[in-house]
């Protein structure tokens, strides 16, 4: 009898800005449809007496099961009562009943959820236990037994049902409150001496408000379904017209007057669909608002790759090595619902030569990570290369299918991510995540791959390769995980490693070790590296050549030494100045919004 009412749980964690949610709901087509249907039903309930001249209770014994006519718009039921009149009044009572159940469930569930989530401790244990108690108790037995005690009233049944459904709200609220209980702003309020009820009211309630509305729509839907179910088993309230009661009557006459079944069934289905759509649309809007804006610069759909040409420093080497990667006029953008393209890379050109380390430097939001992902062929959902070319070892990469790219990924171009912990699948051992790509790309046996993986783990400086091999990601430290990821990146002997801020997320003490490792491996293997970073220190340490990015463009490029010796572009100069002023400013930089774009907005 009870449907899952938990679908909204995850949303609670995702609540972000809620500005103009109501307005956005009205712009969302399904949301608008749902709101219109619900509004119509409520109007129907409110103005029931105006919608029909017939008495819903008048039973005309000489006119039972009549077909629709001018007098009886939808015909009459098995007691000769006007079906339209009953439908209109049933809407009133059924919606009120469902509202009662929802209201009670929400009051009980949200209140206890707030208390349990905020104060925790014994209240939480007791509530959790009561929740499982309610869930394990056969609801039907309770409803039927209670019916015998309190009579067949719709209100009684719905009130009991409200209590039975309270856990749906409880769990939602409790989880959401647990999530924010220790957030900074709540702490701040507490420190500032704001009283608990006021904190709950002002800060915490706002977090659960929208999820509670979603849950309420779903609980209303369930309450309507329960009324129908009670009607089906002949347990509807006989004293007032209800959808369930009409269904019950219609069922017994299903084969004599099938139309009778159509009306209550349709209105129940319509109302349920409306509430389900409402919940769905609201959830969609909430999820959308939880995502940060894709980028700062917005342009029309037309691709714009123009701008001042980059400052190019002359090559210092006598015999430049062969070209490995040549990016030319690359434009990356995200399609927007309104058809426009939000551009994040505006015509980047750069080259990486075999065996060299090329630093791609710029502040957060400059588009350097997007450039790196385009080369990897792994732009986040919605992103695409809008113009330009990426030629790798003589092979044009743009326009290649996922399948074709997969042959290049790993084997030719590999990737060292920024945040080690989130880049290992938590459900599989580190060993299996190393072995799997090697078996696929190199086509070697499992045994061989394992031996190789252990070698690699030793090579990246992990003290106990066997143990690390068997470990799950959550069992190793961030520095170890990054070593594992570097091992993974070199495991298939690529020609180019794209390292996206490989040290940013690590402790300062570990950073140097990882850089040392990278440098050592690069020299040993002779692999080219495109190093994405915002840190000039790293560039100075490792790079042969540097490209400086700003606002989706390369502003200056050339041998590292030349640029360090004489930065020409004002932006490059400002970056240098910043380092001099504050050597360790990366703390704030590392929480760049451009990283959130990479993660697709998931928290």
């Amino acid at each position: 009898m009870s449907q899952s009412a938990d679908v909204t749980l995850e949303v609670a964690e995702n609540v972000g800005r809620r500005s103009h949610l109501a307005r956005r709901m009205l712009k969302n087509p399904t949301g608008l449809f749902a709101i219109i249907v619900i509004a119509l039903l409520i109007l129907m309930a409110a103005f029931a007496p105006l919608l029909t001249s017939q008495d819903p209770d008048y039973a005309d014994i000489r006119n039972i099961l009549a077909s629709p006519s001018a007098e009886h718009l939808l015909g009459t039921d098995s007691a000769g009562r006007d079906v339209w009149a009953r439908l209109v009044f049933a809407t009133r009572y059924s919606l009120l009943g469902a509202a009662l159940a929802t209201f009670l469930a929400a009051i009980i569930g949200v209140t206890s959820g707030l208390i349990a989530g905020y104060y925790g401790r014994w209240f939480e244990s007791v509530s959790a236990w009561l929740t499982s108690l309610v869930m394990a108790l056969p609801g039907l037995v309770v409803l039927l037994a209670a019916r015998a005690v309190i009579g067949p009233t719709l209100w009684g049944a719905m009130a009991i049902f409200g209590v039975l459904l309270a856990p749906a709200f409880y769990r939602l609220t409790q989880a959401a409150v647990m999530g924010v209980r220790n957030e900074l702003y709540v702490d701040a309020a507490r420190v500032a001496g704001v009283k608990d009820p006021s904190i709950i009211g002002r800060h915490i309630l706002t977090v659960v408000r929208a999820p509670v509305i979603i849950q309420a729509a779903i609980v209303t839907l369930i309450a309507i379904a329960i009324q129908a179910g009670l009607g089906f088993i002949g347990m509807s309230d006989p004293t007032i017209p209800t959808w369930g009661g009409m269904l019950n009557d219609a069922f017994t006459k299903m084969y004599q007057q099938p139309l009778l079944l159509v009306w209550p069934a349709s209105i129940i289905a319509l109302a349920s669909v409306a509430f389900a759509l409402f919940a769905n649309a609201l959830r969609d809007e909430l999820e959308r608002s939880a995502k940060p804006k894709k980028a700062k610069s917005k342009t029309k759909a037309a691709v714009n790759a123009e701008g001042a040409p980059a400052e190019v420093h002359a090559e210092t080497e006598a015999a430049p090595r062969d070209l490995l990667l040549e990016v030319d006029g690359l434009v990356v953008g995200y399609d927007q619902p309104d058809g426009s393209l939000t551009q994040v890379v505006n015509g980047v050109s750069l080259t990486v030569r075999k065996g060299e380390v090329h630093g791609l430097i710029g502040e957060s939001g400059s588009g350097k990570t997007q450039t790196a992902f385009s080369i990897l062929g792994l732009l986040p959902e919605g992103g695409r290369v809008a113009a330009g070319s990426i030629v790798f070892d003589g092979d044009e990469l743009t326009g290649k299918s996922v399948k074709q790219m997969r042959k290049i990924q790993g084997k030719r171009i590999s990737y060292v991510p920024q945040e080690p912990m989130s880049n290992l699948d938590p459900s599989f051992t580190i060993g299996s995540q190393l072995v799997e790509p090697m078996r696929e790309t190199l086509g070697i046996s499992g045994k061989e791959a394992k031996a190789r993986a252990l070698d690699l783990l030793a090579k990246v400086g992990l003290p106990d390769p066997e143990k690390t091999f068997r470990s799950y990601p959550h069992q190793v430290s961030g520095g170890q995980a990054q070593r594992v990821l570097i091992a993974g990146a070199i495991s298939c002997e690529p020609d180019l490693i794209i390292a996206d801020e490989p040290t940013t997320a690590l402790d300062v003490t570990v950073q140097a070790d990882i850089l040392d490792l990278l440098r050592g491996l690069q020299q040993e293997l002779g692999v080219a590296v495109l190093l994405v970073t915002h840190n000039f220190g790293v560039v100075a340490d490792l790079c042969d050549r540097v490209s400086v990015m700003q606002k989706g463009r390369i502003v200056e490029t050339g041998p590292a030494r030349s640029i360090f010796a004489g930065p020409r572009h004002a932006y490059t100069q400002s970056l240098f100045d910043a380092i001099l002023e504050d050597g360790a400013a990366r703390g704030s930089l590392s929480h760049s919004s451009d990283r959130h774009v990479n993660a697709g907005g998931a928290k």
Binding site: D57, Y58, A59, D60, I61, R62, I64, D77, S78, A79, G80, R81, R147, A148, G151, P152, F232, I233, G234, M235, P238, T239, G245, N248, D249, F251, T252, K253, M254, Y255, Q256
Partner: protein, 515 residues
């Protein structure tokens, strides 16, 4: 919806019998159906019954009848047997005789019958079974309430002695009161679930799902193979009218109860024939003739006004799709006290009703509280409420759980109620069940000297008193009967069955394959 039409049907008509008057039962329609074989008779001799009641107990001492009779008759023999027309014929007892004073009934028993566990059937066993039934908790245990003792005279003769005469005793012995169970089963733990009888079939415990499907296999050693028409009897329990209809339309049952008469047309459209009799009357019991709970009802004019308020033809149509016969009396057509003229006593006349109410001082209307329950059809209650509202009587329904409906009613909680009640075939039975001051369904136990005197005369065998009593309670409007409802079974092509006098189900041995 499934609980609705059950509570009343299951128990009604358990004891009604027309045998004493020697009449044929009810208005049974053509029981036979034609032609092509289908269902059970074809598939290795299985007949599938669609019944509406699960077996309450398989112990003979606690046995129910009526809707459970097919399952009981499959496994047990009764001492006597009733033919479809109500005549009583030999069964386990080959001959029987009353003593002059009608205080002793002597029965000669067959000596060639053994129970399926090998135990022999004899007079001592018969005596034990009779006494066990009397002392058991069958709903009909009181049928043997006047039996003082039962003893074995010799191997194959049993003697039943009475505390007072009961002319219906032979009839009872054709029903659950006469079922014979093996004494070896009496004290077993599963006496209520595993029957050991001498009947034509044995319960297949392995395939039976209690409450849902009862499977019976042919008893290979049965003493009367003529009554075994099938190798297997299956009884499926359907509590929901829609499920029953689906089973019928899908051809899954050979003989089935019609739970909702308004579905009968769909059933016959699927090629089923019908077997029909009439056992129950549908209408109001105006029990508060003494005005204990509602003083208005003490006024005969008010009661008559209520009787005038109902359009019986329309009610019959609305309640049972016309399957029944309108009536104004609770006596069955088979009773000599039945008087067709009485049916016209209270024609539909709202004006007359209103003027009677005005005469009684209720020109401004009055209020009556009646029970409403999920065991009664809600639209029936609504229509009754409306008919009375049309003449100025407000019915206030007080809801009661189905489990409490009958008990609260007979405990005298309401002044009046809608009810479906059996039309006991003998006037005395009927009077002592529904009319007499101490009867169950005179539930406020109103005592009317005229009535009590007439009942006394009936007990002494005065037939005229019955007619007089009928006339009196119709005039006094003790009841407002609407119609006698059809009791209908649908029968698949290839199967025949005969309507049984006094029982809702055809007796098992009348259910046969065609040809």
């Amino acid at each position: 919806m499934f609980s609705k039409k059950r509570a009343l049907i299951t128990t009604a008509a358990a004891v009604s019998v027309a045998a004493l008057a020697g009449c044929s039962g009810g208005s049974s329609s053509d029981p036979t159906t034609s032609g092509a074989s289908e269902g059970g008779s074809e598939s290795g001799g299985t007949v599938t019954l669609g019944v509406i009641a699960q077996v309450t107990s398989f112990a003979a001492a606690n046995a129910n009848w009526a809707n459970e009779s097919p399952m009981m008759q499959a496994v047990y023999d009764s001492l006597l047997r009733m033919e479809p027309d109500g005549t009583i014929s030999p069964n386990l007892a080959t001959a029987w005789e009353w003593s002059e004073d009608r205080m002793t009934l002597t029965l000669d028993l067959r000596d060639d019958v053994t129970f399926t566990d090998g135990t022999a059937f004899d007079a001592d066993v018969a005596a034990q079974n009779i006494l066990r039934f009397r002392d058991g908790t069958s709903p009909n245990a009181s049928n043997l309430g006047r039996v003082a003792d039962a003893t074995a005279v010799d191997e194959d003769t049993v003697e039943i002695t009475m505390s007072e005469p009961d002319p219906a005793l032979e009839v009872y012995l054709t029903q659950n009161a006469g079922l014979q169970e093996s004494p070896a089963a009496f004290d077993t733990a599963d006496v209520d679930t595993v029957p050991i009888g001498s009947g034509p079939y044995t319960l297949n415990v392995g395939e039976t799902v209690a409450g849902t499907t009862y499977v019976f296999d042919k008893n290979p050693d049965y003493w009367n193979p003529e009554d075994q028409h099938y190798d297997r009897v299956v009884a499926n329990v359907y509590t929901d009218s829609t499920a029953m209809l689906n089973a019928v339309q899908g051809g899954q049952v050979d003989v089935a109860s019609v739970i909702d008469l308004t579905q009968l047309d769909q059933m016959t459209a699927s090629g089923y024939g019908t077997v029909t009799n009439q056992l129950d009357w549908v209408g109001l019991i105006l029990a508060d003739r003494g005005g204990v709970l509602n003083e208005a009802l003490a006024d005969v004019k008010v009661r008559q006004a209520i009787a005038y308020a109902f359009d019986r033809d329309a009610i019959l149509q609305a309640f049972s799709a016309g399957y029944g016969t309108t009536t104004g009396q609770i006596f069955p057509t088979t009773s000599s006290s039945f008087d067709e003229a009485l049916d016209g006593t209270y024609p539909y006349d709202p004006e007359k009703a209103k003027s009677l109410l005005a005469e009684a001082g209720y020109a401004d209307g009055l209020e009556i509280t009646m029970p409403s329950t999920a065991a009664l059809n809600q639209s029936w209650l609504t229509l009754i409420q409306q008919q009375l509202a049309d003449v100025g009587i407000t019915v206030v329904y007080e809801d009661v759980a189905p489990a409490n409906f009958i008990s609260d009613m007979v405990a005298g909680k309401w002044p009046a109620t809608l009810m479906i009640l059996q039309q006991d075939p003998s006037d005395y039975q009927l009077a002592s069940f529904q009319i007499a001051a101490d009867s169950t369904f005179n539930f406020l136990h109103y005592e009317d000297p005229t009535v009590e005197e007439l009942i006394g005369e009936i007990q002494l065998g005065d037939e005229a008193a019955g007619a007089e009593l009928n006339q009196y309670i119709v005039d006094q409007a003790w009841f407002v009967p609407f119609y006698r409802t059809d009791n209908t079974k649908v029968v698949a092509e290839g199967t025949t069955a005969e309507a049984q006098t006094g029982n809702t189900w055809p007796y098992l041995w009348t259910i046969k394959p065609v040809g």
